[in-house]
């Protein structure tokens, strides 16, 4: 085993997973709510298809599209270079973009399912009691969908932490910059350093397990409190 193990994949992965779950969580909630409110079924199904696509497609295909959009010649990539002199592709933000896009469908679908489970009479009751739509969203819809939203968050976080294919396409595998834990596992195995790979694997298993344990614990306690 290499005595000087590189710890940077751990900190990069933690930063990427944390920022991406933050973005995915709120984006997923907002989009889920917007979709739930759409009355036209055709539009609803079409949009749902688009938002779900990233989990159905092979990650490299999603990465291909992302590269097309955020690459130096892509519409958004070029814009950022021209106006902010910032290169997105093959830089750390690219790992966040890849993780957000790949984990978004899980958050969106879980949140949507959780919202649809909430009795619509509750929302109407809120309206007839004079609550603002904003208050109804947070205090009734969000609060009652919370257990489902939390489990969506767990899945999305785990998906973001484990993101490989799209990240490889858009962010590459640059040590100290875009080499996340899954990338590092791959790189070490490719280089024949099974010992280092094993260490990274242990770290990723521990982080994933702790995250799931904490969030599950919170959601189960909440549900128990409301019942008996």
């Amino acid at each position: 085993m290499d005595m000087m193990m590189d710890w940077s994949p751990i900190s990069i992965s933690m930063k990427t997973a944390s920022l991406s779950i933050f973005i995915t969580f709120f984006l997923g909630l907002i989009v889920a709510w917007a979709i739930v409110k759409i009355k036209n079924d055709t539009i609803k199904i079409a949009l749902d298809g688009i938002f779900t696509l990233p989990i159905v497609l092979p990650p490299t295909v999603v990465g291909f599209f992302l590269l097309y959009i955020f690459g130096v010649r892509g519409p958004i990539g070029a814009f950022f270079i021209d106006f902010f002199a910032v290169k997105i592709a093959f830089s750390w933000p690219a790992t966040v973009i890849a993780a957000v896009v790949m984990s978004f469908p899980l958050m969106y679908r879980s949140a949507r399912g959780a919202f649809e489970q909430v009795d619509s009479n509750l929302l109407d009751a809120g309206r007839t009691l004079g609550m603002s739509e904003w208050k109804i969203f947070w205090k009734i819809l969000f609060a009652n969908a919370l257990p489902g939203i939390i489990s969506g968050g767990i899945l999305a976080y785990a998906r973001g932490l484990g993101e490989f294919g799209a990240t490889a396409m858009l962010a590459g595998n640059i040590a100290g910059q875009t080499r996340t834990l899954p990338m590092a596992v791959y790189s070490e195995v490719a280089a024949g350093n099974m010992g280092d790979a094993f260490n990274y694997v242990i770290v990723i298993v521990i982080i994933s397990f702790i995250a799931i344990f904490i969030m599950d614990f919170a959601s189960i306690r909440k549900e128990k409190q409301w019942k008996q």
Binding site: D119, N121, D124, T128, G130, M131, K139, A143
Partner: protein, 345 residues
């Protein structure tokens, strides 16, 4: 209640039929009776502003005039602004909030705490303040829902089949509680139900709705006594209804029961059916008016009634005491001509 009124005149296209409801409420309580899917809940939801009618007006007149909805003037007040309390069938208590929080949710900040504790007392919820709705019995849930509505001090209370999902015992107990809590309320209340007993118990006035149309309206007792239409008779619980052939002004032949009957009211050409309530048969002599042979009848014992089905399909209900178990069906029964209800299709 001088000059107070609630005027509702709305149309809405629905999948199965068009909803066309109009009424003007002046007495405190109106009942809307109809079979399930007749548009009664839709009417309530329109008044609350939860659904929007296609056309029409909804105007509340009390100290001043409030237009909830007016399609011509393009007025459509949000449910938040209508000051209407809605009692949902499942009560729609917020499962994530305690009893206290549920009651407090509709109150503006200034007088919050006082109103909440008043309501908790008034609806006998002391000791349950910190409980969640999932931990309460059905009766307690209904009281919390009513406390929440009353704390909001609405102008109109809408009751959407509040007892339909309950067992008989709880139902009867809660009806009494609801009657009592509505007594102190000096706005309008509208009860929607498919249960004739509920409608009869609660309401001064009644509207009968079928496939989105008002088919009868008036004073509750009046509607029950003179239903006028076949559908209304059926909804107000008339068990025996038959198609008829008119013989002369006061005589007719029942097609379904194969008997000739005399009535006290003149039969006009628009009369197509008659109704006889199951309680309106009495033992008789062979020579009485409107006598029916009881040969081959079947009797069924209920705790407080005998249910007798005559050979021609007529239902007869006769009250009894709980410890009476013997009943000899008389050879003949009769119907008083004035108890035969003339009906239009």
């Amino acid at each position: 209640m001088i000059n107070k009124s609630l005027k509702v005149n709305i149309q809405k296209e629905l999948k199965e039929f068009d909803l066309e409801v109009d009424f003007e409420l002046k007495k405190p309580c109106l009942g809307i009776l109809g079979p399930s899917g007749c548009g009664k809940s839709m009417t309530l939801k329109s008044i609350a502003g939860i659904v929007n009618p296609d056309n029409g007006v909804i105007i509340l007149m009390d100290d001043n005039e409030t237009t909830y909805f007016d399609s011509n003037k393009k007025i459509n007040l949000k449910p938040q602004k209508r000051n209407v309390g809605y009692l949902f069938q499942n009560y729609a208590l917020f499962p994530n909030m305690t009893v206290e929080e549920n009651v407090a949710i509709g109150i503006s900040k200034n007088d919050g705490d006082k109103t909440v504790s008043d309501m908790i007392k008034r609806f006998h919820l002391e000791g349950l303040e910190k409980r969640y709705p999932g931990q309460l019995s059905g009766g307690q849930q209904q009281r919390v829902a009513l406390a929440r509505i009353m704390a909001y001090s609405p102008d109109v209370i809408l009751l959407d089949e509040p007892f339909s999902a309950m067992d008989t015992f709880l139902k009867e107990q809660l009806r009494i509680e609801l009657v009592n809590s509505l007594k102190d309320f000096n706005g309008f209340s509208i009860l929607v139900t498919h249960d004739r007993d509920e409608a009869f118990q609660f309401c001064d006035e009644l509207i009968i709705l079928d496939e989105g149309k008002v088919i009868a309206r008036g004073d509750t007792h009046e509607v029950f006594e003179n239903p006028g239409k076949v559908q209304v008779a059926r909804l107000t619980g008339c068990k025996n209804i038959s198609k008829i052939e008119i013989i002369d002004d006061y005589h007719l032949k029942s097609i379904d029961w194969g008997i000739t009957l005399e009535v006290s009211e003149k039969i006009t050409p628009n009369i197509t059916h008659i109704g006889i309530r199951a309680h309106d048969f009495y033992p008789a002599d062979k020579n009485d008016v409107n006598v029916i042979d009881t040969i081959n009848s079947v009797k069924l014992e209920m705790p407080f009634e005998w249910e007798i089905t005559l050979a021609n399909g007529l239902w007869w209900k006769r009250d009894k005491e709980i410890h009476d178990h013997e009943f000899e069906i008389p050879e003949f029964v009769k119907v008083d001509p004035k108890n035969i209800i003339l009906l239009e299709e």
